[in-house]
Subunit: 345 residues, 4 copies
């Protein structure tokens, strides 16, 4: 049996979450997210982001959340700017375009947008023969594991303000970002600096579920209609509520992310101890080592992981992902396997 | 605390399903429905429908399944015919239109389409200035609890064949239909007579999930792309697989539907014993009694239910729904409450 | 050679319009509707509607204008209410749905919506599981040749105001309406009572072209972006400008409509003189006589026209349409043909 | 009065075309492109492309043709590959995305796609989490005036065949390409090597209109429905037919393009005689000289033209466009103005 470092959604949910679902199983709850658990989870999140007024919607998955958030905010001729590596640009099968909107991808070597990059896109879209950029999409952590700093986010938010752009932050891996040793951005910062963002549950210990937080009041109107229309309103919505209740009680959300990061740190150290470089520096739960192909081949006999890009004829960058469920003994085993593979390289 | 007869998705999942999810919780599974549980569930369903070749996709909810199935099968200028009461026509916030397709609703007093009704629509759409009808959408059981008979479905299928229309059957409440005393249609009949149909889990004991079964090979191509694009591909897809594994083992699916129908039969008898009529005859888990408003008012003090339509100044048709989780003692209590309310009418 | 009463767009343009296009042919003009002719035509229309602020866009055709106007005004979950016979509901191949919006068609025997009908639709759409009605679409003259009165339009406008609905009037045959002996609505009335409406050129003497007039400032923003996106921005936009310059100078627009109506009146009289009834009463350029099938067969040997509906085994309602170009001698000839056919019936 | 080299659609139509429209003005013609002129024009084009079976549709404008052709051929999850500079990628306000499809723009220095570039895009789109490339979009001449050679087009066509991609060629400026001294591709070559392509009228002497030629039978089905749905079916369709009748009789189409190219050649020579370089080499009707800003400023006092890109602090690349209507004396005047400006630089 191969051990998987393929992604952070290979296992189910943290046992506390499953336990809470068991306990509530025979309760009768209102449907479609109007139940007591969802409302309680909303209160817990409002407390965590230090904003009483935030509008919060629980959605089953990330692609669904992205397409819903973006298509609800934009008029037909408006477009969203993102890094070329942005999840909406490459890994959602054109879900945003399927709602009618162009995604303006900008090549950014570290997966992070900058005000300068945004300004260039805005400047290049000068009249009605071109789409109108109206939203900026960021991921935190990014798809290559990097992090925006608070200064960077402040600057991006100010830039969006200057050009009348909505700022939307995809937090599918927000847990790993918040728990990172390098993190400088808090949940209240996100609430203050973005128009809307989401906190990812699927990749941090929930069975499924993302909490979309709409800060800009102009984007709240009729959001439940739009959710229903996209097929994104779960009948038994309290299932999402219960999961976020657990994640935002007793610090579980950060605790789980902390474990994932810790496992990643150990993997990173093992790689660096072997003298192998990383494609992107990051202190989150994704690691992108550049390894000799011979080493990769040996590792592939025991572990599942994906390849990110070809570096040269003999070297490939792979992706290792850890999660709340990654076992320390598997990480230790990987360390030994890597050292052994290196010897036989 | 009010007891709810509001719908069939007020409680969680049958304990056997939750138990199976617990047991598999720390397994590492492939994502996106490519896992062993989903594959096993597919095998179980193929056995149940007696067709080895069926293409089966598990989707989180009914609206999502409907919009995905319809938009994947139709070209931009093509439309879907349904009864005016069809779920896609009234209760999905225009989800089908949001994918670009017109829904051609036909008034049918009992919620059931007929070949004659379809032929009229086809005849009325004669050239390229009008949409091209290309699909027929049925619900079994219908939104008003009625059932198609096997003869009717055979005739509808033949009619679709004559006009080159795809036949799609929404089985959100297929369990209640299959378990009904009046039922004459089997799962293999559905597989034989439709181009695609789905078996509803959400309303019959699953936490969530529908099994979409694509019989027509022409409609199978690239379906996973289309699923992903609509945000309908669950990361932890095995959660759906596990639920359908349980539902299609040991007869659980029918057992749960049987209980729901039994509870509905008892409610129906209680209503008829009081001399109150039903708006639609049905032997499924939805009941539509016409009650004096004064009686309704009294019942509303103890029970949750929805009103379906205004009959006259003094009478209203309400909707009562039972489920796999409906408690016999709640039904008995309702019987007593109704009898008491009738006396004080 | 058959003489055509098939529609009001069988011939080219009034010679004065062609003449103006010839004269301007070698001028160099700015593209995309930003030229002097378009601006002058806008001024002429603003004078005619007695509103200096109106935002005016020239579009090549009716379906394009309708889909553009509707999709630009509505958010994704919003729908447009119209009479079942509305052009957008039956004769535009689902163009509105292709932009994502449901058309809520209401059966109205005379093709005219009423506040009561609108209120019923609004009342039936009570929550986020249903589309949100946000616009009312009227045609003047309607698709069956009938006319709204000023009182009716005032009431509809007030009704829209009460429910926050935009009022959009399709004026593909507005000329015939304005020139009708029964007309009580002026262009300034339309400007005052609707949010947006269009004045049809294609069916009243232009080669092609409709003037869309946006009265509600909230609907004006970025309209040129939306026009371009739908492929509705003509490169040589001055061609539209020139045509509307001519139509709104020297009263040509009404003069042409007056001729069409006059020809229709003569046809109507001929039909009534023969004792044949009309399906709809109207004083515009469309006539819907109910004729014996034997008579229709004889007429079909010399004239082109369409059939509207089957009345009974022996009678059919046909549609005759006149235009600015209909020849009086053709009408006289038709009168004789009809009388002759009646004798041989 | 400034003389415009801004584009090739600043004037009306060639007088022969206007004359033909005048002559047919009072004919009664069938609507929507089903008339004798459109059919005759189709025959003339079929002769020119040496293919009797081609399906030909006349559409009013380029953006409309592009969005219609692309959205009709692709299923929802499929995407179109083009050079980054492709008209659909930058200058159509997201018209293609508005129909639901991603445009995959590839940076190509000379505006021309290559098989290698296409293969890279195909290889990068490996599974259902990404859009499926299904069409390649080329422009001939390209947006920067360059030309594909026959060898290049053969290679591109073969590449498309290998990967199951449709090949669509935007011929908005096909006239200038065909008439170019450098041209190696004939109309029959285009018919043989593409799945569909269009011959642009708007930019080569018509008032408006493009002839879309569908070679691949699989893409022909129901195309008139799709045309109507996008608002692209002109009521008086014979106006398009008449224009293409004239363009494809007596060699007018090539004659007009030849004049445009000749004017461009003279401008090019004038620029090169002054020692100024061109950003892109081309022998079509668009010229992209790199001029000192001081020179540009002086020219701008007498001529209209657009700026293409900033080269350095002191130099800018401008765009000059000639057409069938460009006056030789204006070109001569420009030559003198340029020489004078150069002296005073």
């Amino acid at each position: 049996m191969l051990y998987s470092f393929n992604n952070d959604y290979s296992e189910g949910a943290h046992p506390r979450i499953l336990q809470a679902m068991m306990e509530a199983n025979l309760e009768q709850n209102d449907g479609y997210g109007l139940d007591r658990h969802s409302n309680h989870a909303r209160e817990l999140i409002r407390t965590a982001i230090e904003d009483d007024s935030a509008d919060i919607h629980f959605i089953s998955g990330g692609t669904q959340t992205n397409l819903l958030a973006i298509s609800s905010a934009l008029r037909p001729h408006q477009a969203v700017i993102c890094a070329n590596t942005g999840h909406i640009n490459v890994h959602e099968t054109g879900a945003v375009e399927a709602t009618g909107h162009k995604v303006l991808g900008v090549p950014m070597p570290d997966g992070k947008l900058t005000p300068t990059a945004i300004e260039k896109v805005v400047a290049a879209h000068s009249d009605e023969h071109m789409v109108q950029p109206k939203m900026v999409y960021l991921s935190q952590a990014t798809e290559v594991g990097t992090l925006y700093t608070l200064d960077e986010l402040e600057a991006l938010s100010a830039c969006c303000g200057r050009y009348g752009l909505y700022l939307f932050l995809d937090g599918a891996r927000l847990g790993a970002a918040l728990a990172s040793a390098d993190n400088t951005i808090t949940l209240p910062d996100l609430a203050r600096l973005t128009d809307l963002f989401y906190i990812g549950g699927t990749k941090n210990g929930a069975l499924f579920g993302e909490a979309l937080i709409i800060m800009n009041p102009a984007l709240r109107q009729d959001f439940r209609y739009l959710t229903k229309q996209r097929g994104a309103m779960l009948a038994k919505g309290w299932l999402l509520g219960i999961q976020f209740e657990e994640l935002f009680q007793n610090n579980l959300f950060l605790e789980l992310a902390d474990h994932a990061n810790d496992m990643a740190n150990q993997l990173r150290k093992a790689i660096q101890d072997c003298g192998y470089p990383l494609q992107w520096e990051s202190k989150t739960n994704q690691i992108f080592p550049i390894l000799p192909n011979a080493v990769i081949e040996q590792l592939a006999a025991d572990y599942l992981f994906s390849t990110q890009l070809t570096v040269d004829e003999n070297h490939t960058c792979i992706r290792l992902v850890t999660s709340w469920a990654t076992k320390p003994e598997a990480v230790e085993q990987f360390r030994l396997s890597l050292a052994a593979a290196r010897v036989h390289e």
